[in-house]
């Protein structure tokens, strides 16, 4: 059985386990509520304040939607890493090391919740809404660019999860700092990047390339002025680079692991 088939089995197992709960339709309704409320805050702000500078809500929502969807994808498919630190504390990572499969893949498959689909659906809806409102018609090339942006963003967020898991090898506890880069980063996308304080923008461009996967592709697709067109295509390479770096940290962490108990 190759890696993908194994991962697929993990997902299926988790999904079926989730469906055992009598209330899973309730969960889907819960999903709906989350889908609506996630972008609501931005929309409320824009309703009060009108457009910011020459940025109407429709524009900002594209950047926001791209990062929201990417984060949603990471939550959906890489959730296992989000829960990982508790495995170090309880020592159940020992069990995973015993199995003749990649540790990475096993952790990736430990969790899969269907209701995590909510952010993805919400995000995609926001993207489509924003593009139609702006009257942007997509050609094949631009569709491809958006797809690259989402994959790149997914890799970046997964990378964040992986790094925070790897840090747990040293700290044993899970630390809240990861929230700055997960939830915090798409909060930042609620305002136009050029208006942010420089250091905040740089953090989310150069350290964690979240804007590279949302703002620049969005600018390319819609043809916003003042942004070099080519930068949009950096999303996928940036995502791959960040993800690779996180894998290195993970490797070092696994080698450093000393069991804490059983």
């Amino acid at each position: 059985m190759n890696g993908f088939a194994l991962y697929w089995r993990y997902l299926k197992m988790n999904l079926l386990a989730g469906l055992q709960y009598k209330g899973w339709p309730m969960q889907l309704i819960g999903v709906l509520v989350t889908v609506i409320t996630d972008p609501l805050e931005v929309l409320l702000l824009f309703a009060r304040f009108g457009s910011i500078g020459d940025w109407p809500a429709t524009r900002v929502m594209l950047v926001y939607g791209l990062s929201l969807t990417a984060f949603g994808l990471a939550e959906l498919f890489s959730r296992g890493f989000d829960y990982f630190p508790s495995q170090v504390r309880t020592g159940s990572f020992d069990r995973i090391l015993l199995r003749p499969r990649s540790t990475f893949l096993q952790i990736l498959g430990t969790r899969f919740h269907l209701h995590r689909l909510s952010r993805v659906v919400g995000g995609l809806f926001v993207i489509v809404w924003s593009l139609t409102k702006q009257g942007v018609s997509l050609k094949l090339q631009q569709l491809l660019l958006l797809l690259c942006a989402l994959i790149g963003g997914y890799l970046v967020y997964t990378g964040i999860f992986v790094i925070s898991s790897a840090v747990a090898f040293w700290t044993v506890q899970s630390l809240d700092w990861v929230n700055i880069f997960t939830n915090g980063s798409y909060q930042v996308a609620k305002v136009p990047p050029p208006l942010l304080p420089g250091w905040l923008r740089n953090t989310f461009t150069f350290f964690m390339p979240m804007f590279v996967c949302s703002y620049y592709p969005a600018a390319n697709v819609c043809g916003w002025e003042g942004v070099p067109v080519g930068l949009g295509w950096l999303a996928l390479p940036a995502g791959i680079a960040f993800f690779t770096a996180s894998l290195v940290v993970w490797r070092v962490g696994v080698r450093h692991y000393a069991s804490t108990g059983s």
Partner: protein
């Protein structure tokens, strides 16, 4: 009042307990401060570059709005989302409720005090560092001092009642969690709803003008938004008796509902696992 003494004991124990996890507390603290700062930045950008002058139409100026953001970070542990006791949650999910039921205590009030105690400890830890950092920041991002001493007092009293209401909301969440086979759908819904309507995302005064009346009267405003209005001075201290009465009414309704639901669900409780 036989439940009072053991409940006081639980209160003392968990207050101490929650003060003990230092490193995790530090990590959380810095994250909260960063989080508050990011929110403050967002608010400042909207106030500065927004085309419509919302400061006038909403009755909330930029200083008040930014202060509000910081006050939310300070009062974070008094609102329901952050108050769900992880241990109680695990007990419910792993079937240890059975053991809890063996204690000669009313389960509802046992969990209520337990939640209240551990959260209040976290809150006390949160106030001095977040407040001092927020007050020392440069101008547009700063937490402003309270409108007056009386406002501060009104805000604090109102926040305390709001905190009891918050524990009552958490009580209902525990009952929902006890319906294990429902999954966590209802709980997610309830927490998302409370988060929004308590104003922990966005001050309720910045919501559309036509919704203001409803927002003021609905129970979740009493958790956080109304108490903070006293601090900011958007509500005068003279309004305190009215607001406090409304808060108390909501609290009693939520406690009664939670207690009754708990009794009902205990009658046909199925312990899963053990």
């Amino acid at each position: 009042m036989s439940w009072l003494r053991p409940c006081l004991g639980i209160l003392r124990m968990h207050l101490r307990n929650s003060l003990q996890y230092r490193l995790a507390a530090w990590a959380q603290l810095t994250t909260n401060i960063f989080w508050g700062f990011v929110h403050a930045v967002i608010i400042v950008v909207f106030y500065r570059y927004g085309k419509q002058n919302a400061g006038v139409s909403s009755g909330m100026n930029i200083t008040q709005a930014v202060s509000y953001i910081w006050l939310v970070q300070i009062a974070l542990y008094l609102i329901p989302t952050f108050s769900i006791d992880r241990e109680i949650r695990n007990k419910i999910q792993q079937g240890d409720v059975g053991i809890e039921l063996c204690r000669p205590l009313d389960l509802y009030f046992h969990w209520f005090t337990r939640t209240a105690a551990s959260r209040f400890g976290r809150f006390l830890l949160q106030v001095p560092p977040v407040a001092s950092v927020a007050m020392l920041l440069p101008e547009p991002y700063r937490l402003a001092p309270p409108a007056s001493l009386l406002s501060l007092l009104a805000a604090f009293c109102s926040l305390l009642i709001g905190f009891l209401l918050s524990c009552a909301v958490v009580g209902i969440i525990y009952v929902l969690l006890m319906q294990i086979r429902w999954g966590d759908g209802p709980v997610i819904m309830l927490t998302v709803l409370t988060d929004m309507l308590s104003g922990s995302y966005l001050p309720l005064q910045l919501w559309p003008a036509w919704a203001q009346r409803f927002l003021y009267a609905q129970p979740f405003a009493s958790l956080l938004d109304l108490p903070l209005r006293f601090y900011l001075g958007t509500l005068a201290p003279s309004a305190f008796p009215g607001v406090a009465l409304m808060q108390l009414a909501w609290m009693i309704i939520f406690v009664a509902t939670g207690w009754l639901l708990m009794q009902r669900s205990l009658k046909r409780l199925v312990v899963q696992g053990g």
